[in-house]
Every structure is written in C-alpha cells, then in structure tokens.
Amino acid sequence: MEKRVVFRSGWLPWALLAPQLIVITVFFFWPASQALMQSLQMQDAFGSSTEWVGLQNFRQLFDDPGYIESFKTTALFSVLVAFFGISLSLLLAVFADRVVRGAMVYKTLLILPYAVAPAVAAVLWVFMFSPSLGVVSYALGKFGFEWNHLLNSGHAMTLIVLASVWKQISYNFLFFLAGLQSIPKSLIEAASIDGARPWRRFWTVQFPLLSPTTFFLLVINVVYAFFDTFAIVDAATQGGPGKDTAILVYKVYYDGFKAMDLGGSAAQSVVLMAIVIVLTVIQFRYVEKKVNY
C-alpha cells in the first residue's frame, strides 16, 4: 500500500530508518544468522572446540522422539491455551458488552491479569495448586480429588494451561470488547427485527463480524502459547512430569542453557524461526487484505 503523496528525499528515509535497521541488524539478524551457523555445528559446553557437522543436529532432532513429543505437547498446549483463552474471554466480553451498570468495575478487575508477568502468574498458580499447601488443591482434596501436578501430567498440563489462559484472558477480553462495541448497533437491531434471538444473533451476526478480531487473537494467542509461556512452564512444572509439559521454547532453553547442547538448541531455534515466519506471513497477508477493503 502506498500513500498518494510521498515526500522526496534521497537521504532522509535512510536516516529515519537507521536506528531501527541498526538495532535489528545487531540484535536480530546477527544472532539469527549465528543461530543458523550454530545449528550446523557441534560445540562443547565452554565453546572451546567447534566442529562442523552439517545437518546432523537437525537429523538428530527429528530422530529424537522427545522432540516430536515436544511438538505434540506444544500443539496440544497451544490449542488449549488459544481455545480456552479465546472462548472464555469472548464469553466475558459478550456479557460485559451487555452490562451497563458496574461495567467499569468488572472491566478493571478483568484486565488486571494483563499486568502480571507470566513468571509471576505461574508462581501464583503454583501457590494455589501446590499439593502440600495450595488452597485450591486442598479444596479439591476435600472433594476427593487428589491434585498432583508433580506426577500427573494431565494435572501439570492443566496447571500451565490455567495459568497461561488466566494471564492472557485480559488481553483477549479487551480486544473482543472493543470488537463487539465497534459492530454497528443497527446490525443487531436489523437482526432482531429479522427475528433472531440473542443466542442466534450472536452466532450469526456478532461472531462472524468479530472474525477479524478472533483471527488476530488466534495468531497472537498461538504466538503467546509458543513463546511467552516459557516463564510459566519454567516456574510451574519445569517441563515435568517426565517431559510432558516441555514445550518447544522450553526445550530450546533447556537444551541450550541447561544441557549445553548448543548445536541442538540452535537447530531448534531455526525450526522455531521457520514456524514463526510462516505465522507472520499469514497474519500479515490477512491484515493487509483487511486494511484494503
């Protein structure tokens, strides 16, 4: 897309772009190419010996059932986070949209988790669900439900999903609310004159019209689940039990920084970058199309 009128200057645009270009070159492209290089190397922990190994790291990666497992874990986790994050916040937004009195109070309380760091969110949830001193696990115990995320991978997954969804709900909520409020009121009225009751109206009019917002949030939530939840996993389960909650970023970090397998970790970085680039392009295409019409 282009502006009709543009300024003419040979050097000015470059001067304007310079800070950004410098920063991304030094802190993005350089490291990224570094990652690419390292993915083809094998190094000892202290970096004193380096050996080119071609695609061996990648081969090893995809031969490793643990990695494939981690893919599945990530997929499951992202789907759960995106699904619950989006649907719960949509539910809240739909009702918040109806509420007139007290709306401000509800809204303010609902957006608070946005301010909480993922790492802190995990701490809060671990604290609630700790098998020995958690208030919630205690309450669950009273109902005869033994909560133990240390051994039960279902529980562990539930815990990180809960914490991640909780953390993300505010953000989604804000967008949905804004999205709902930007749907022209007359459309709702038209639908009600057409005979649609609230439930039907929601599914046939409001929800389809929210689809740009939903799509946007879907991408954001998936990216969030892929990356920003590292802190949650690290603080809540450390990938356990077994490797049942070791999502991809956690594994990158773990293999690179804990296991000191730089080549393997770099190879994983490269794979992740590829995934994200695909996501970016999809998102970009979509946004671009949308702005055009």
Binding site: P184, E189, A191, I193, D194, G195, A196, R197, Y293
Partner: protein, 335 residues
Amino acid sequence: MAALSFRNVIKRYGHGAKANQVIHGVSAEIADREFIVIVGPSGCGKSTLLRMVAGLEEVSAGEIAIGKRVVNQLEPAERDIAMVFQNYALYPHMSVFQNMAYGLKIAKVPVDEIKTRVDKAAKILELGHLLERKPRELSGGQRQRVAMGRAIVRQPQVFLFDEPLSNLDAKLRAQTRLEIQKLHRELGITSLFVTHDQVEAMTLAQRIIVMNAGVMDQFGTPEEVYARPATTFVASFIGSPPMNLLKQAPGVRPGMILGIRPEHLTLDADGWSVQVEYVELLGAERLIYGRVGDEQLVVRADESQPAPVAGDTVKIAARQDKLHWFDAGSGKRAA
C-alpha cells in the same frame, strides 16, 4: 398488511429526574396500505417514533397498535414488520442472497420457498445478478436496494424506513424514490417513511406527518400540507425556498404573521418596494433575495419576468388568493 395506530404515544429517555421526554403524545391513525412520510428537522423525534413501532425502543406511555394488536409489549421479531435503516445495516459477512434470506431462515421458511421469495424480490429490484456478492462489493444504490429486498421478502405487515435515501447522491436518490413508489404501488404494504428532506416527503407521501420537537404539527396529504400549513413551522419547513413569513410588512396586523410563498410573489406589480440584495440563477428560474423594511424576502421568478440585479429596488405584489395567516403567539394557522 395492516393499519397502524398511535394512541397518545409518549416517549421519555432516562429515568426519574434525568428523564427527558422527546415525544409528547402523538396520536395518528394510519390506514392499511397507506404510505406515510414522517418529516421534520433533526432531533424532532422521527426516528424515535419509528423505532417504537419497530420495538427497538420501549413506549413510555400510550399505545401503538398494528392491525388490531397492541404491540407495546412485543419483541421486534413478533411484530411482523420490516425496517430499512439509514446505513442499510446489511450483514457484511453475508452475500446479498443470505442477507435477504436471513429473516426467512430464522422463521424456518422452507429452503425452496426462501429461494422463490428472494428471487422474486431480487427480480423486482433488479438484483438478480448480484445475489452472490458481498455488500462491500456493491455501490451505494445497490446496497440500498438490497436493504429494501431484505424488507420485501419478509412480506411484513408494515414497512419502516429510517432515512433510507440520505446516503445516496442526488441522482440516485431521485431514482430510488421512484422505485420505492413503484414498489408500494405493487405490494401495497403499509409504510412509514422517515426523512428530514421535505422534497422527499412531498414526492413520496400519500400523507405526511410533520413533526416538530416531539409534537405532530400536521398530518395530511402533501397538497394540504403545502397549501394549508397548519403552523408557521410547517409553513417554513415545507417548500424550498421556504414560505416568506412576515410580521411587519405593510398590511400585517400586530399579533399576526403573514405567510406567502416565493412563487406567489410577482415582480413589477403594484406592491411593496423591495431592495434586491442578490440574485441566484437556478437554470430555468431566478431567486431574488431582498428586503422589505427590516424583513428578508425571497421571490421566485421565471425567465419570463424581468431580471433585476443586486442593488435595484423593485416593486413586488403577492397573489391575494395565496396568503396565509398565522397567530404570532401560537404559530397556529389563523386562516
């Protein structure tokens, strides 16, 4: 198709101390198959009145009846009405066909019949080739027709239109006006049409309701409203340029207002001396703006009359059979 009655309808927005009454007791009986236009300046309560009929606003007091049913307590869906909105309110994510079919689908009309009815409406409105398009792929006029189509397929008792033409350009507006008239002739559905444009009102209406600040100033045929405006408000609102309303011109008694339309003033006759301020040429005719004493005056003159220029003083006479007299206090028609 049904008659429509307003019985002392009142509308207040807000509650208690903050309540703000915007409709002050409107009563009107609209016959079956009639085409009624509600006209009035912005904020006078036209939309509010219409939306009460639609069920989009609650009636604060009084009754609205469609046919024999008082509908005050019914949901919009239960009133058997259809409405065309100013911005059309087409569902942007549905095709033209889906837009028109939506209401029928909800009413569980069989698929076959939906198709027949939509096709028929599309044919009437010449939308046949556009059925698969999305609203954003249509021009303003086409969108407007889809909005009408959506109303038509429902075969409702009453059509409601809230300024449906105001987003169209002048040419399209004129053309759509004709289409609406044609449609009404064909379908004969009782219609309530809101506009603030008096030309629209005059050309479309069988009867006009002139609203003024929440009050119904006049309810009559276009001819009546034009020829015998019930209040100074109606007199000045209907007709362009508006009727000259004179308080101090020679021959006007105190406490009275004399109304005379610009086209009923003749140049070069034996009458008031008018100072010409400027002249506007409108194709076939001229508007001459002038001043008699302290009062502004407009004369509409055609080519056959002489053409004064700004600064001239001309003599002007009014056709005596076209004088309107109003009470200066109430603004009501005196004779």
